[in-house]
């Protein structure tokens, strides 16, 4: 599935993955799979009001997130990058707090985690990534950080994506545009969304090298992302990666995919489960055995329990935060609104 005008060869880092790394990738994917399906269950149980599942996208997310250097790179997610967050080692209670409706954007520290706040505006952060990356160029850091922005095939229809790619190419900004093409934007399939059928093909118009990759192969995703980062870091400008994958479940816990596709279609189009596929590979290559997989599953379950407990413990935010976090220097009008809010809520 891979493509052409490929990246400038800057491959000092391109050693094959060690067995340890391969096992680590599997452990992450297993954790993400379990947490993701648990989050859907939490919603059904009333623990959280909503969630955007990523079932089937574990390889695309973990493989790309694993390539990020958290000492210098920065990731700009949308609302479906839980696997990236987990692969980057985020505080997952802080991550999930956005789905608990505790605070928009989550409650982790974006500067420390190198993971921008979660956001719902489709294609909203694509231009932010370009600005951040251009800042790297301007500050001339010897160890260039790379911005990676995640978005879907649906988001690629937004005009902002055009503007972002054009800016990035003109400015040679170190940005990886990481498209997870999961086949659907809610109910609309890629062929009704993307003229020409491919987001990667558009890159040519901007003179940006692009890779269309098998997004269900975690190793292929990791290697493509790693070489894209090396390309950017060497000062060659942006890269477009289109990872072809499949959103196996609903768009969100509020969606009913039965209205636009059948279970049979889902089964056929979904193809092989990326987690199972990786497991078979590790078994066949003798990288891991049954005991390892059992342990990975147990660790995933323990982790989910801890996160669920953390979420349950999150109390509501103090109302005063609503006012005090708007500005660094609040306006008098806002302060007086806060005062009367306080008085009235105390007396009510």
């Amino acid at each position: 599935m891979t493509t052409e005008p490929v990246l400038a060869a800057v491959d000092d880092d391109a050693a094959p993955l060690t067995h340890h790394q391969l096992r680590e990738l599997y452990t992450l994917m297993a954790a993400v799979r379990h947490l993701d399906s648990s989050a859907v269950a939490w919603q059904r149980q009333g623990i959280i009001p909503g969630y955007a599942p990523e079932l089937g996208q574990e390889a695309a997310q973990v493989g790309s997130g694993y390539a990020v250097d958290r000492t210098r790179d920065f990731v700009f997610p949308t609302y479906r990058e839980m696997g990236v967050a987990r692969a980057m080692g985020l505080d997952m209670v802080g991550y999930m707090s956005t789905h608990k409706a505790t605070w928009h954007g989550g409650m982790y520290n974006p500067l420390e985690s190198r993971f921008a706040p979660i956001q719902a505006v489709v294609a909203g952060s694509v231009l932010h990534a370009v600005g951040w990356a251009h800042g790297q160029t301007l500050s001339g850091a010897p160890e260039m950080g790379v911005a990676m922005t995640y978005f879907g095939d649906g988001a690629s229809s937004q005009g902002d994506v055009h503007e972002a790619m054009n800016f990035a190419a003109v400015m040679k900004a170190p940005v990886v545009f990481f498209i997870q093409n999961n086949g659907w934007a809610i109910s609309v399939p890629t062929e009704r969304q993307v003229a020409g059928g491919s987001v990667a093909a558009r890159a040519a118009g901007y003179g940006i090298p692009s890779l269309q990759i098998d997004g269900n192969d975690v190793v292929a995703v990791f290697e493509a992302t790693r070489s894209a980062f090396a390309h950017c870091r060497a000062g060659n400008g942006p890269v477009v990666i289109e990872a072809m994958t499949y959103r196996r479940g609903p768009h969100s816990t509020a969606d009913d995919p039965g209205r636009y596709r059948t279970l049979e279609e889902e089964r056929l189009d979904g193809g092989e489960d990326p987690l199972e596929r990786f497991k078979q590979r590790l078994l066949a290559e003798g990288v891991a055995d049954a005991a390892f997989f059992a342990e990975a599953q147990r660790a995933a379950e323990d982790e989910e329990e801890a996160i669920r407990a953390g979420i349950a413990d999150l109390g509501p935010r103090p109302g005063a935060e609503m006012f005090s976090l708007v500005f660094q220097e609040p306006t008098p009008a806002l302060q007086s609104q806060a005062t009367s809010w306080r008085e009235e809520s105390e007396h009510a």
Binding site: P49, G50, Y79, T98, A101, T102, W103, H104, G105, Q119, A120, V121, V122, G154, A155, S157, Q158, G159, D160, A185, I186, S187, V188, R192, Q193, V194, A254, R259, Y260, P316, R317, G319, M322, F323, V326, T331, A333, L334, Q337, A338, W341, E344, S345, A348
Partner: protein, 360 residues
């Protein structure tokens, strides 16, 4: 609890056209039916947006319309609000009556350029030769614990733009008639649907837009479809509201009545143009007013309403017009939503402020 206007058969001056016309349905069903009829009546009508074809819209307002009227009249677009609204301009120029949808209020922002600079100005720019008969449906306001940007109150923003009209129904009956009305107008109308009321049922008289207020007699019957409607009569003060806040104000009025305070509730319906006569009539009688809206306080429509009241009722007003509104903060997350949207207590405090006001 008068959730909506009830048809009071006991009063003598009823112009009842028969129970057959009055159907019980949700606002979602009422809007869906209105769109269905508009499509049937005007072959130039087209409906489009994100997910409104096969899925029937994420709120199911366009449910079944594509199957019935075909993929050319009801269709899914790529996910790009600026594209959706910009396309409406060209369709209107070609003689169509577009009824585009933005999926959630907050996502009208990416299309603001097309709405403000093109749709609102094309008629003016072309000296009346290129009218823009566009009805933009916007699921609006909060109250459903939605994610960020899925619950906002943009009415002041839209109402401020020359060339746009803005309306918001509060019940299924008005939703049905106001949408049918808006969708046949030659000017652009922003149709703000209170999403927290989509599933609330009420009587819809499909034959007649006119429905008498609960307490009857001598007030605007709303039959004109262009003005405000008194939904509860009272003597001591007027609560002015629109959208989802209307039913909340009716609740407040019931509670206030227990303390002997007789509250009138005016459903503004049109946010541009505002029915200044209805405001003058109501507040001219009660001499006190509180405006209630979900949108932030500063530069909100409450200020506009207060000014209109001051202008017509200055000499007889017993207190300055009060406002009970959202705060000047980005729309908060679900856990804080109930703090943000005017609740019963805050509205009662507002009432208390106007009742206890003393000239200094």
């Amino acid at each position: 609890m008068p959730e909506t206007i009830t048809t009071d058969r006991s009063s003598g001056n009823s112009t009842d056209t028969g129970a057959a016309n009055v159907q019980h349905m949700s606002m979602q069903q009422a809007l869906n039916r209105a769109l269905d009829e508009v499509l049937a009546e005007n072959p130039k009508t087209v409906i489009f947006g994100e997910d409104c074809g096969r899925l029937g819209g994420v709120f199911r307002i366009t449910d079944g319309l594509q199957a019935k009227h075909g993929e050319e009249r009801v269709f899914d677009t790529p996910l790009a609000e600026s594209g959706i609204l910009g396309m409406s301009v060209g369709l209107a120029m070609a003689g169509f009556h577009p009824i585009p949808e933005v999926q959630f209020d907050g996502f009208a922002y990416p299309a603001i350029n097309q709405i403000v600079c093109q749709i609102a100005r094309m008629n003016y720019r072309s000296r009346g030769t290129l009218p823009m008969p566009i009805t933009l449906r916007v699921p609006s306001f909060g109250g459903i614990r939605a994610p960020e940007h899925h619950g906002e109150s943009l009415e002041a923003l839209f109402a401020h733009v020359p060339g746009l009209k803005v309306v918001s129904p509060s019940n299924p009956h008005d939703a049905y008639h106001l949408l049918k009305y808006a969708a046949t107008r030659p000017d652009p109308v922003i149709f703000m649907e209170p999403k927290s009321r989509y599933w609330q049922k009420g009587p819809v008289d499909v034959a007649s837009a006119a429905q008498r207020p609960t307490h009857d007699a001598g007030v605007d019957d709303g039959g004109s479809l262009t003005g405000a409607r008194v939904v509860r009569e009272g003597r001591h003060l007027t609560l002015v509201a629109w959208g989802a806040m209307v039913s909340r104000c009716l609740q407040v009025a019931e509670l206030a009545a227990e303390d002997g305070i007789d509250v009138e509730v005016l459903d503004l319906r049109w946010l541009k143009p505002i029915d200044a006569d209805a405001l003058a009539r109501s507040v001219g009688k009660t001499r006190r007013a509180v405006v209630v809206h979900e949108a932030p306080l500063t530069s909100g429509l409450g200020a506009e309403v207060a000014q209109l009241i001051t202008q017509s009722c200055f000499a007889t007003l017993k207190a300055p017009v009060e406002r009970v509104t959202g705060f000047d903060v980005p729309y908060p997350s679900g856990d804080l939503e109930d703090e943000y949207i005017p609740n019963i207590d805050r509205i009662l405090f507002g009432i208390q402020r106007v009742l206890e006001y003393r000239r200094g």
